[in-house]
């Protein structure tokens, strides 16, 4: 019994902890399987096996350290990434979110029907009858039942939602105008009982939407008001054998187009909705390149994303470094300056971004007020509503958010540069400026490059700032712009995928996110190579 060798408190604690974890996971597995979610159940099962193996045996010591982290990463990071990547191969957008059977069911149920041209208009008298046409006032079985007639041709019948019963003329009671008003009873039983006046009051709710049965295939009767009945037919019929819909009126045939919709075989652009999620391979990626309405906003957004990220890094670094150089001397109040200057970094960024949003308001914003105060006359810059100003605003706010970080790391780096280097330079006759340009700055650059690249990568995906400050706007939705002036790739993609109310295209968004992923990964890998972060692992 290796397990019990040297029983100590630590081992007992471990066993208790692992057992509790296994029990909880076991319960969850049972619950998920009971709920019919086999995939998640299997995931819990695998987790349990792994945990038991790793912590009760000595298979792998590093695994004992890694497993909790790996399980969390696998569930909430890796699985979603794989899901997103696989979705980029799908037609998955507004109108194509269901599975095919679900979509088919909805298409068949859909209320696409129309009055059949050239069919008769029947006279209608509403009433009750029961299932077997026995006692019509037997409330339990009574059904709304239409007495339908077309006296020029002597056609008379009773119709409910499910039954169609022809009647001989001799059982019909006519009024003085020759219109049927009642059906004579046979024996002691009523076969049909007309509506009382008050029952007409509830007519709209119960009967207006009922499809009464008619004796022609694919058709039904529908009440038009209280006294007229018309023949309707579904516009489309479905044939399961050929998996095709046929439009009854035009004769057009709609077949599975292999891309998630039934499309008109004559005119592929004419499709039935809803469609379903369908694998379309690389089509989303091809769209990125070939479809101008996708490509053009994407290129514009891509260029702005690069400009935004580069400008942000440069301005934040420049201001941070300037302040670091300024305060890298013993001057009075340096400690106070330092504490004030890191405030923007210490402040929860979400609050700062939102307050900046208010300050940049055209009418009541503090920024316009301040400028008015300085120039001595009222100004009304539309900071967040005018494309160029909005871009400037985003950069300005980001400068505010980020310069303290660069101030801090520049200070740290400056203090790490040996004094002797600059001293030696000044002995050799270099001015302060020369020493900075030739010695200090290149050294700083070398030290800070990985952080500059990390900052670039972070800002490349700085969703919070754009989303909370401008929402990617301003965008001219009337002109059909899908991308706003300040949209960066990630906010643009978010809009593509989750845009409420508009056209969501999750497949395309997934494709864009893979492009982003590859770009950022390439840039970061370059940075890592340069900074040799991974050297310690070789």
């Amino acid at each position: 019994m290796r397990l019990l060798k040297g029983v100590r408190i630590a081992v007992i604690l471990k066993i208790i902890l692992v057992t509790i974890t296994l029990t909880v996971l076991g319960f969850l597995m049972q619950a998920s399987l009971l709920a019919g979610d086999v995939q998640i159940g299997i995931f819990f099962g695998i987790s349990m096996v792994l945990i038991a193996l790793v912590y009760f045996t000595k298979i792998s010591i590093p695994m004992k350290f890694f497993l909790p982290g790996i399980l969390l990463l696998a569930t909430f990071v890796i699985t979603p990434i794989i899901y997103t990547i696989s979705m980029s191969g799908y037609q998955y957008r507004t109108g194509n979110v269901l599975s095919k059977p679900e979509a088919l069911e909805m298409l068949q149920k859909s209320d696409a029907f129309a009055q059949v041209p050239g069919e008769k208009q029947f006279d209608l008298k509403l009433g009750w009858c029961d299932e077997e046409y026995g006692d019509a006032k037997d409330v339990a079985n009574a059904k709304v039942c239409a007495l339908v007639s077309y006296y020029p041709d002597d056609i008379y019948f009773l119709s409910t939602a499910t039954t169609f019963t022809p009647l001989p003329k001799d059982r019909i009671v006519f009024n003085v105008l020759g219109i049927p008003t009642d059906v004579t009873k046979v024996g002691a039983k009523y076969t049909w009982e007309p509506f009382y006046d008050d029952e007409y009051a509830t007519f709209d709710k119960t009967t207006a939407s009922t499809r009464f049965k008619y004796n022609q295939p694919n058709t039904f009767l529908r009440a038009e008001g209280y006294s007229v009945m018309a023949v309707y037919a579904a516009r489309i019929t479905y044939d399961a054998k050929t998996d095709a819909f046929t439009d009854i009126k035009t004769g057009a045939v709609y077949k599975d187009n292999g891309r998630g919709n039934y499309a008109n075989t004559e005119d592929p652009a004419d499709m039935k909705y809803p469609g379903w999620r369908e694998i379309i391979g690389l089509e989303n990626f091809i769209d990125l390149v070939n479809n101008p309405s996708v490509r053009e906003p994407l290129i514009a957004v891509f260029i702005w994303t690069i400009i935004f990220a580069v400008t942000t890094v440069i301005t934040q670094y420049a201001l941070g470094l300037l302040i670091a150089l300024t305060l890298n001397h013993k001057i009075r109040g340096r400690w106070v300056y330092r504490s004030i200057l890191i405030l923007p970094y210490a402040m929860p960024s979400i609050m700062s971004i939102l307050i900046w949003g208010g300050m940049l308001n055209t009418d009541f914003g503090a920024v316009n007020n301040l400028i008015s105060l300085i120039v001595g006359q009222p100004v009304s810059f539309n900071w967040l509503g005018e494309p160029t100003l909005a871009k400037i605003s985003v950069l300005l706010v980001n400068l505010w958010l980020g310069f303290p970080y660069f101030y801090l790391i520049s200070t740290g780096a400056l203090q790490a540069i040996p004094q002797e280097l600059t001293e030696a330079a000044s002995i050799d006759g270099a001015t302060g400026g020369q020493a900075f340009r030739k010695i200090t700055f290149p050294l700083l650059q070398q030290m800070l490059l990985p952080l500059l690249i990390a900052s670039f990568a972070f800002n490349f995906n700085n969703f919070n700032l754009i989303y909370l400050l401008t929402g990617g706007g301003p965008r001219d939705t009337l002109a059909g712009d899908s991308a706003g002036a300040t949209d960066i790739l990630i906010s643009y993609t978010y809009n593509l995928a989750f845009n409420t109310g508009g056209n969501q295209n999750f497949g395309l968004a997934s494709a864009v996110s893979i492009v982003i992923f590859v770009t950022v990964a390439a840039i970061s890998l370059y940075g890592i190579r340069r900074s040799k972060v991974l050297e310690s692992f070789t």
């Binding site: 300024t326 004030i340 200057l341 609050m351 307050i355 995928a497 996110s513 970061s524």
Partner: protein
């Protein structure tokens, strides 16, 4: 002449510092000014305070429709649990990366890096649908629950934290571990008896950074927690100003002030450690 000399040696430094401080303080001053105003608008007639009133705080704290305390405690509970657990779990992985030898170490750390670069906002839809399914059989852990959000945050914080912690752990001298190993200690014993006590200040700082990060998170919290009594302070406060009107800036500013103050104080008091951590990676090279 004396002034010119002073300016070229020290004065310009003060001028630059003053200008920078003005820039840094401007929005913060606006928050303070707005929160102590009588009206709830952000508009200022003058940049000098014209009166002092606690009505915005009063509105925020005593209006029964604004569960500010609940938001605050939700945010604190969520951030605290996530930061403590993720540092706890992350530290183990960071220790293994930094101190243990095993096959595929380089590959796995590169994979971890790569995973970090995926635009996580996009993975939202998948996370959402997973949690929707969990909701069906485990109502306390699924969509719309704080428990579910904590799990999702934990997963998301893992990658960053392992990286951050690895940087810190690398800076802890390895000699002590080695001495213990020579004395026959197992990796587990080294981890619990030697590494953890040594690393605890570092872990506390990473914990704080994670806390702030989670506290700042908006989009997941907004998507996950729709019931007002479950929302976090970031989501709740944003609702004040999310509409077309400027009317609720007062309570928003008051709320921001109350929310930010503890974090800013914590940050300033621990700044030495935080800055050391931030610059460790850079200055080492």
């Amino acid at each position: 002449m004396i002034f010119v000399k002073w300016f070229t040696t020290k004065g310009w430094r003060h001028t630059v510092a003053w200008a920078a401080c003005f820039f840094a303080l401007f929005p913060l001053y606006m928050i303070v000014l707005t929160s102590f105003k009588k009206t709830t608008s952000l508009q200022v007639g003058s940049f000098l305070p014209t009166g002092f009133s606690l009505s915005n705080f009063d509105e925020l704290l005593s209006n029964p429709l604004i569960p500010f305390y609940t938001w605050m405690s939700n945010s604190v509970v969520i951030s605290l649990i996530v930061s403590v657990l993720s540092v706890f779990v992350g530290a183990a992985s960071a220790f293994a990366f930094s101190r243990l030898r095993f096959k595929g170490k380089k590959g796995s750390i590169q994979l971890l890096l790569l995973i970090q670069m995926f635009p996580s906002v996009l993975a939202l839809a998948a996370v959402y649908s997973i949690m929707e399914r969990v909701q069906i059989f485990a109502p306390g852990l699924g969509l719309g629950t704080i428990g579910g959000l904590i799990l999702v945050y934990l997963g998301g914080a893992m990658g960053v934290n392992i990286w951050l912690l690895k940087g810190f752990v690398d800076s802890i001298p390895i000699e002590l571990d080695e001495a213990a190993r020579v004395d026959g200690a197992s990796p587990m014993q080294i981890y619990w008896r030697i590494f953890m006590p040594l690393a605890s200040p570092v872990l506390a700082v990473v914990c704080l950074l994670t806390f702030i990060g989670i506290f700042n998170e908006y989009i997941l919290a907004a998507l996950f927690l729709t019931d007002p009594s479950q929302q976090t302070v970031a989501v709740g406060l944003r609702a004040f100003i999310g509409g077309q009107f400027e009317t609720n800036w007062g309570p928003f500013a008051a709320g921001s002030l109350l929310t930010s103050l503890p974090i800013v104080i914590l940050f300033l008091s621990l700044q030495k450690y935080i800055i050391n951590g931030l610059t460790a990676g850079a200055v080492k090279g």
